[in-house]
Amino acid sequence: MTTAWFDDKGRMTPAEVQTVTFPTSRLGRRGYEEGPVQEFLSTVHAEFVRLVNERTSLWQEVQRLRRRIIAGESDGDSQPVLFGEADAHVHAVRILSTAQVTADQCVADAQDYSGRLTAEAKRRRDEIMHEAQQYSDQLLEEAHTKAREAAVSALNVPAAPQSDETQRAAQAELAYLRTYGDVYRAHLRAYTEGILRGIEEWERKEAASLQEAAHRLPPAGPPFGPRALNGDAHLHH
């Protein structure tokens, strides 16, 4: 074992790339923006780790080949050990690791998607609530204005001889309330119908997309296929 492996003395490590800090330039001086620099450093870090690992695999491969040559030379056998048990184990570990990383990525993507979906739903909800609030304010204001006009005109109707002040005031009040009620009811009806139309639209679209999704599903697999089905159940909800 004469090959240098990873001679750390004085060599840079990926961790150094990850933790390096630079002094910030003084105000008015030119300097790099921090965001892109950090982004670049994290790319360099990832690449550094990858290189270290590739080197490890190559070193191990070299060791394996060397053992094979030595074995071939010493016993003179023309069939030296091609692929020992230990090599097979490391190979299996690598295959399993690759499968695991793929599974991790699938879960991470699904989670990310669901996160964006929820965030978007929350944003839309806030928007809708805000619009509804504004609409309701506007509606109340309009009803109030119209009703006040009605009340004023009720007051301005020439008084019948027998009517006194109280009665005129009551009539004005009545006109106010009646108009306010009418305007409010009309708006409420229009608004509620609008919402119902929205819900119907939503149901129709949901049904359509569910149907589409059902078409895209692959046909049922063999008993051991449904590993994917487990995964699916995991991603749903």
Partner: protein, 372 residues
């Protein structure tokens, strides 16, 4: 055991980054396929935990007391995953194989002996603590959801009946696992002090993309069977009770542990004055105000101040919770408890400290070793 050699060796293998834990778990699952089922589908977070725990152990390997406390906690905590004594040997074998694989020519018989001795120590502290714990309590509790109350767009309150009865301190938390997200445990504070009937109250906020919170707030209904880990955390009321007034600062579902503390105060012979601030972004985020106001009506010593940060129409206190707390009184000479979003907890702690609350009288949510 040569500590310096151990640390140097660990530093050398960590340059391989994620490959190290990836190799470890694949090696473990190949040698012992039966343990794969103890882990979640995605192992990404798990790999991070492993490396963090190893780094902590290696850095503390010569301060035995701290390390022992950490390892004992870790050992007890692993009971809920179904870890038993035999698993410790399996993990040791794969750990040694992993270290050997990544150490290359630096792997010497002496180094191997160091790691073997270190792991033997780790494994025995963890498994001894775990078996002592077996005498005291189950590895996990069955928790039947008795009621699910959606309180707002993204917050639900769950009432859960543990089986058997669970003993805990008000302010503590438990990890929860749901049937549809096997092996994913998330910590939630219990929002009440222990009750006669043993019922537990949890406040769950839907986190964007949160695998477990989504299940708990949407598809969990009365009758759903959850699993609950053992109670952890130290946010409880300090004993003995100082007699000083309490100021409790709760942001969103950070209310849960603080409500448990109010519940606890109610059982004291001479309850101190308690002022609870409950903050949210909008009025409908004050998801438990009715229940709190009922408590305030019942207890003369309790004052509730709701506050809303992003809704100018709100009739009560408006502004960020730390601002509201600061302008609503002089809290020097009080004990303060703060829980909620990290940023709010940090700001509120700073404001309270600058308003004259002594540092050791400000208590924040702290999961200690179980934080993950």
């Amino acid at each position: 055991m040569d500590v310096a050699r151990l640390r140097e060796s660990f530093a050398r293998v960590t340059v391989h980054g994620d490959e190290l834990p990836l190799f470890f778990y694949s090696d473990l699952f190949l040698r012992h396929p039966e343990v794969r089922g103890m882990f979640p589908i995605s192992m990404a977070a798990q790999r991070g935990h492993l490396v963090d725990a190893l780094a902590k152990i290696v850095s503390q390997v010569d301060s035995v007391d701290d390390l022992t406390t950490f390892l004992e906690g870790l050992g007890r905590d692993h009971r809920k995953f179904g870890v038993v004594a035999e698993h410790y040997d399996a993990v040791g074998t794969s750990l040694l194989a992993t270290l050997e694989h990544f150490s290359g020519p630096a792997w010497t018989p002496e180094l191997a002996a160091d790691w073997k001795a270190a792991y033997k120590l780790i494994g025995s502290v963890m498994s001894v603590a775990a078996s002592a714990d077996e005498q005291l309590r189950p590895p996990w509790w069955r928790g039947r959801v008795v009621a699910h109350e959606p309180r707002s767009f993204d917050v639900s309150v769950l009432f859960v009946q543990p089986e058997p009865r669970m003993d805990y301190l008000p302010g503590q938390s438990v990890a929860i696992e749901t049937p549809s997200r096997p092996r994913l445990w998330r910590y939630y504070s219990i929002a009440n002090a222990p009750r006669q009937d043993g019922l537990l109250e949890f406040h769950v906020r839907l986190i964007d993309g949160g695998a477990v919170s989504m299940v708990l707030t949407s598809s969990t209904v009365a009758g759903t069977e959850l699993r609950l880990g053992p109670p952890v955390g130290v946010l409880g009321l300090r004993q003995p009770v100082s007699g000083r007034g309490l100021v409790l600062v709760a942001g969103s579902t950070g209310l849960a542990p603080l409500k448990a503390i109010v519940d606890h105060v109610a059982t004291l012979p001479q309850p101190p004055k308690v002022h609870l601030f409950f903050g949210a972004r909008t009025a409908d985020g004050l998801y438990d105000l009715d229940s709190l106001e009922k408590m305030a009506g019942q207890y003369g010593w309790l004052t509730i101040t709701p506050a809303v940060s992003a809704d100018p129409r709100f009739a009560g206190e408006k502004g960020s919770l730390p601002d509201v707390v600061a302008r609503r009184g002089d809290w020097s000479g009080h004990d303060a408890y703060v829980a909620g979003p990290t940023e709010m907890v940090r700001d509120a702690t700073a404001r309270l400290a600058s308003a004259g609350v002594a540092h050791d009288q400000i208590h924040i949510e702290d999961f200690g070793w179980s934080e993950r």
